[in-house]
C-alpha cells in the first residue's frame, strides 16, 4: 500500500505556521525568573508537534532542527535547566529560521540550511555545557526505528537456530491490552514453533481473578532470525515479564535467509532470494523514500499552493440554518405563484420581504466566512516591538485592543504592511527615548496601542502612541524647503498634519535602520486607498499621535451612491464623497488649460465633467443645470459634474479586468436591480486624470497619485 504523503503537506504547513505563532507569542510571554509551566509546555508541545509531523512527512532538516530546540525546552520544562534570556533570543531566532525553512519548502524552493546549522550548533553548545546530547537523538530522526536495534555481528551468521523462550508474563499483561496469542502467532511466522503452557502459577478458584494472567509458556522456535527480532516481538512486555531466550541448537544452512533485511537500505532487492524477505523489506524503501524524497516532491507542493481558511463550525451552522430558511421562503413563494390571484398580493409582498431579509442575512453570513479576527495581523507586533525596542533602546509597552474584531481575509493580508510601517514609525519617530521622556515629565515606558473596532460598515484600526506627537514647525519648514507650500502660507493644524502623507516627506532627522526604508506615508496611504479605505492622523504635540485607518469590511461589496450622467448610471463609492451640491456659478472660475475650478470655502477644486471623460451625451452641458459631487481621495479633491443623484445602495463589485479590460477612471462594474450594468468610478484615477493638466492652488501638487497610476 503506498500513500502519497504530499497530500497532507498543506495541512502540515498551516499547522506548523500556527505552531510557530504559538511558540513566538508564548516565548514573548516568558519570564526567565519565573517560568510559567503552562507557557513553557505550550512552547514545547508546539516544537514537539512540528518535529513529529515534519519527520513523518520527510522534512528532515526541519525535524533535525526542532529536535535540538525540543531538547532544550524539555530540560527547561523539567526544571533541569534554568531558562536564560539568551535562550529566549535563540529560540525566537529559531522560530524565524523555521518559518523561513517552512516557507521555502512550501514554495518548493531549495532549502538553505546554513542558518539552521548555525543555530543547531548554538543549541548544542548550550546543551553540551551541562550534559552531552545523546548522539542517537539526531540519528533516530533520520529513519531508524527502535524496532531495528543494532545487529550484533554474531547474529548475522547464516544459520538456523532453535531458541528456547521462557515467557513468564506479568499478571497484569492483559490489562495493557497485550495478547500472548498474537505474539505466538508472530513467532510462528518466523519458523517452526512449539508451545507448551505452564499452569503452575494458577491459584485456587477462590483466589482466581480472571482478568489476570497466571499462565506461563515454554516456547521452542527454530528460525534463521536473530535474537533481536525475537525480542522485538516481546518488545512491549519485555520489562515486566520474565523472558529468557537461549539458543538451544543451531544448524548451519546455505539457504539465503531473510536476515538480509538487516542490511536494509543498502540491500539490493535482487540479492534477496526469499520472497519473505522482500515482504519484510517493503517497509524500508518507503522509509528511505520518505527521507530523500522532499526534493522531488516539492514541485508538486508548489502547484498545490492554495490558500485555505479555517471557519468555525458556528459560522457554517448559521449558514446552513439560513439556507434552510431560504428554502422555506422559496417553497412558500413557489406555492403562491402556482395559484396566484390578486387577493394574495399582500401575501406575495410579505413573501418577497422575507426573501429580501433571507438574502441579506445569507449575504452577511457568507461574508462572515471570509472574516478572520484581526489578531492574525496583530500577533506579529509583540515580537516586532520587542526586537525594535531593544534595537532603539526605548522602553515600550504594546497594548492590543479588539483583537477579536473580524475582517475580510484579503483586506487583512493587504493591511499588514501598512500597519507594520505605521507601528515602526510610531516606535522610531513617535516615541521618545527614556531620557527624553523623563525630561518631559512622562513615564519612561512609552505606550503604543493598536485598537480595532467596527463602526458602521467599516472596520477602524487606530495606532496610538503617547510620544512626542507631530512637530508642527518641523513639518512646516520641511514643506517650505521642499516647495510643497509657499513661504507665507498659513495652514491649519489639520492641513499641516495632512502634509505627512505627501510623497517624499519624512521629518526624521536621520534616516534610521528602523523606518528609513524609503517608503513614506504616501505609500501607506496609497495602499489603504487601494482597499477603498482612508487614513487620518490626529496629533497633539508632546502628547502623542493617533493614526486612524478606516477599511471596508469586505472588498466584494461597496456602499455606493448612484448618479446619472445622460442615459448612464454610474456609482460613486460612498466613502469618497465629501458633499454634493448645486453649484453657485459665481464660485466657478475658468482657468488656463481648459479646466474649470470651483471654490468650496477656502479651496479651489478642479471640476471633472464625466460626460467628457466617458463620452456620454449629458442632459445639459450647462453647469448651472447640473449637480456637483465633491469626492476626495489621497488628500486631493475633485468635483464631479452629474445630471442627477439617485439612491444609495450596496453593490456587488465585479472586476472589469477579468470580464473586459482595465478602463481608466473605472474600478469595476455591478449589475443594478433592473438588470443594467453600471460602472463604478475609480476616484483615485479620476483625480489623477484631472491632475494631468491641472495643479490646484498653493502649488500643492494634486497629482499625489502619479506614481500609483504608473
Amino acid at each position: 500500500m503506498s500513500i502519497d504523503l504530499s497530500q497532507f503537506h498543506q495541512v502540515f504547513f498551516e499547522e506548523s505556521f500556527e505552531g510557530l505563532q504559538v511558540m513566538e507569542s508564548s516565548l514573548l510571554d516568558l519570564d526567565c525568573e519565573n517560568v510559567d509551566s503552562e507557557t513553557i509546555n505550550s512552547i514545547f508541545r508546539a516544537a514537539h508537534s512540528i518535529k513529529g509531523s515534519s519527520s513523518t512527512f520527510g522534512f528532515t532538516d526541519v525535524a533535525e532542527f526542532t529536535h535540538v530546540l525540543e531538547t532544550l525546552l524539555d530540560q527547561v520544562r523539567e526544571g533541569s535547566r534554568q531558562l536564560q534570556p539568551d535562550h529566549v533570543d535563540l529560540l525566537l531566532q529559531s522560530v524565524d529560521c523555521l518559518r523561513g525553512m517552512l516557507t521555502a519548502l512550501q514554495a518548493g524552493a531549495a532549502l538553505d540550511t546554513e542558518q539552521s546549522k548555525i543555530l543547531i550548533q548554538a543549541f548544542n553548545d548550550i546543551l553540551d555545557g551541562r550534559q552531552p546530547v545523546a548522539p542517537g537523538g539526531e540519528q533516530a530522526l533520520s529513519n531508524e526505528t527502535p524496532s531495528s536495534p543494532p545487529v550484533a555481528a554474531s547474529q548475522c551468521q547464516e544459520e538456523e537456530i532453535t531458541w528456547h523462550i521462557q515467557f513468564v508474563p506479568d499478571v497484569n499483561l492483559l490489562r495493557t491490552g497485550n495478547e500472548p496469542l498474537r505474539m505466538f502467532r508472530e513467532l510462528a511466522e518466523m519458523g517452526e514453533l512449539e508451545v507448551s503452557v505452564n499452569l503452575d502459577r494458577i491459584p485456587d478458584l477462590a483466589g482466581l481473578n480472571p482478568e489476570e494472567c497466571h499462565l506461563s509458556w515454554d516456547l521452542y522456535l527454530s528460525t534463521g532470525r536473530s535474537r533481536s527480532e525475537i525480542e522485538e516481538i516481546f518488545e512491549w512486555v519485555m520489562d515486566e515479564s520474565d523472558i529468557t531466550i537461549t539458543a538451544t541448537a543451531g544448524l548451519f544452512t546455505n539457504i539465503a535467509t531473510p536476515q538480509a533485511e538487516e542490511h536494509e537500505l543498502i540491500a539490493e532487492p535482487d540479492v534477496m532470494g526469499a520472497a519473505e524477505a522482500e515482504v519484510q523489506n517493503t517497509v524500508k524503501p518507503a522509509d528511505k523514500q520518505a527521507v530523500t524524497k522532499p526534493a522531488q516532491q516539492n514541485p508538486a507542493a508548489k502547484s498545490s499552493e492554495s490558500t485555505s481558511i479555517r471557519v468555525s463550525i458556528e459560522k457554517i451552522d448559521s449558514l446552513v440554518n439560513l439556507v434552510g430558511e431560504l428554502v422555506i421562503t422559496q417553497s412558500m413563494l413557489g406555492q403562491l405563484g402556482n395559484e396566484f390571484d390578486m387577493e394574495k398580493l399582500q401575501k406575495l409582498q410579505e413573501g418577497l420581504a422575507q426573501l429580501e431579509h433571507n438574502t441579506r442575512e445569507l449575504q452577511e453570513s457568507v461574508m462572515r466566512i471570509r472574516m478572520l479576527p484581526i489578531s492574525f495581523t496583530f500577533s506579529r507586533f509583540p515580537r516586532m516591538v520587542r526586537d525594535l525596542s531593544k534595537q532603539l533602546g526605548k522602553k515600550i509597552d504594546l497594548k492590543l485592543v479588539g483583537e477579536q474584531t473580524e475582517l475580510d481575509k484579503t483586506v487583512m493580508e493587504k493591511i499588514g504592511d501598512p500597519l507594520v510601517h505605521l507601528v515602526r514609525n510610531a516606535l522610531d519617530h513617535g516615541l521618545e527615548s527614556p531620557a527624553e521622556r523623563r525630561a518631559a515629565g512622562k513615564k519612561e515606558t512609552g505606550t503604543i496601542t493598536l485598537n480595532a473596532f467596527h463602526q458602521g460598515g467599516n472596520i477602524m484600526i487606530e495606532i496610538i502612541d503617547d510620544g512626542k506627537g507631530l512637530n508642527r514647525e518641523k513639518i512646516l519648514n520641511k514643506a517650505r524647503t521642499n516647495g510643497v507650500i509657499g513661504e507665507s502660507e498659513v495652514l491649519s493644524d489639520e492641513q499641516i498634519q495632512e502634509l505627512i502623507f505627501q510623497p517624499g516627506f519624512s521629518t526624521a532627522e536621520q534616516v534610521t535602520d528602523v523606518s528609513g526604508r524609503g517608503v513614506g506615508m504616501d505609500v501607506v496611504r496609497r495602499n489603504i486607498l487601494e482597499l477603498n479605505g482612508s487614513i487620518e492622523v490626529r496629533s497633539v504635540e508632546g502628547e502623542g499621535s493617533t493614526f486612524t485607518i478606516r477599511l471596508p469590511l469586505t472588498l466584494a461589496i461597496l456602499d455606493g451612491q448612484l448618479i446619472d450622467v445622460g442615459s448612464q448610471t454610474f456609482i460613486v463609492p460612498l466613502v469618497s464623497i465629501v458633499e454634493s451640491l448645486q453649484p453657485d456659478m459665481k464660485l466657478i472660475n475658468h482657468v488656463a488649460g481648459g479646466c474649470d475650478v470651483f471654490r468650496l470655502r477656502d479651496e479651489y477644486i478642479p471640476i471633472i465633467k464625466l460626460w467628457e471623460v466617458f463620452g456620454v451625451e449629458p442632459r445639459s452641458k450647462d453647469l448651472a443645470d447640473s449637480l456637483l459631487v465633491v469626492v476626495e481621495a489621497g488628500n486631493a479633491k475633485v468635483a464631479v459634474v452629474v445630471d442627477d443623484l439617485l439612491g444609495q445602495q450596496q453593490v456587488v463589485i465585479k472586476s472589469m479586468e477579468t470580464n473586459y479590460k482595465k478602463v481608466d477612471g473605472i474600478s469595476g462594474a455591478t449589475i443594478l436591480g433592473d438588470g443594467t450594468v453600471s460602472l463604478i468610478l475609480d476616484i483615485t484615477d479620476l483625480i489623477y486624470m484631472a491632475g494631468e493638466h491641472q495643479q490646484s492652488k498653493n502649488g500643492l501638487k494634486l497629482i499625489s497619485n502619479k506614481t500609483r497610476a504608473a
Binding site: 509531523s53 545523546a134 526505528t145 497485550n178
Partner: protein, 120 residues
C-alpha cells in the same frame, strides 16, 4: 468494521493516520486531545486506540490511565505514538496501561503492520 480511535493534536498527523487506516478498511474516529478522545471513547465501540503523547488539555498518558478505568477499555489495545527521544514516556505509558508504542516518524505501512499485529 474495526473501529480505531486516532488521537493527535496535529491535524496533519490525524489526517495522515485516518487516511491510512481508512484506506486499509478501518473505521476511524478522530480526536484532537486526550479529553476529546476520552469523551468519544465513552460512546463505545472502539477496538483500538492510537494516541499521541504530547497534547494539550489531557495528554496521552492521562488518557490511557483514564481509559483503563472504564470497564469497556480494560483490555482494549492502546498504542501510543511517541518520538524516539522521549524514552521515559514509554515507561510512563506502559505504567499507565499502554499496549505498545509506535515511534514517530513512521510511515503508513509501518503503522498498518503494527496495527495488524495488535488486532491479530
Amino acid at each position: 468494521m474495526t473501529k480505531i480511535l486516532a488521537v493527535d493534536d496535529s491535524a496533519s498527523m490525524r489526517q495522515m493516520v485516518s487516511f491510512t487506516l481508512q484506506g486499509a478498511g478501518y473505521e476511524v474516529v478522530e480526536a484532537c486531545d486526550g479529553q476529546d478522545a476520552f469523551d468519544k471513547a465513552k460512546r463505545g465501540g472502539v477496538d483500538l486506540v492510537l494516541s499521541d503523547v504530547n497534547m494539550p488539555v489531557m495528554d496521552g498518558i492521562a488518557l490511557i490511565k483514564n481509559l483503563r478505568t472504564l470497564p469497556d477499555y480494560k483490555f482494549t489495545p492502546i498504542l501510543m505514538l511517541t518520538t524516539e527521544s522521549a524514552a521515559d514516556k514509554k515507561s510512563e505509558g506502559k505504567a499507565a496501561g499502554a499496549t505498545g508504542w509506535i515511534v514517530k516518524p513512521f510511515n503508513p505501512d509501518q503503522l498498518l503492520n503494527t496495527i495488524k499485529k495488535v488486532l491479530g
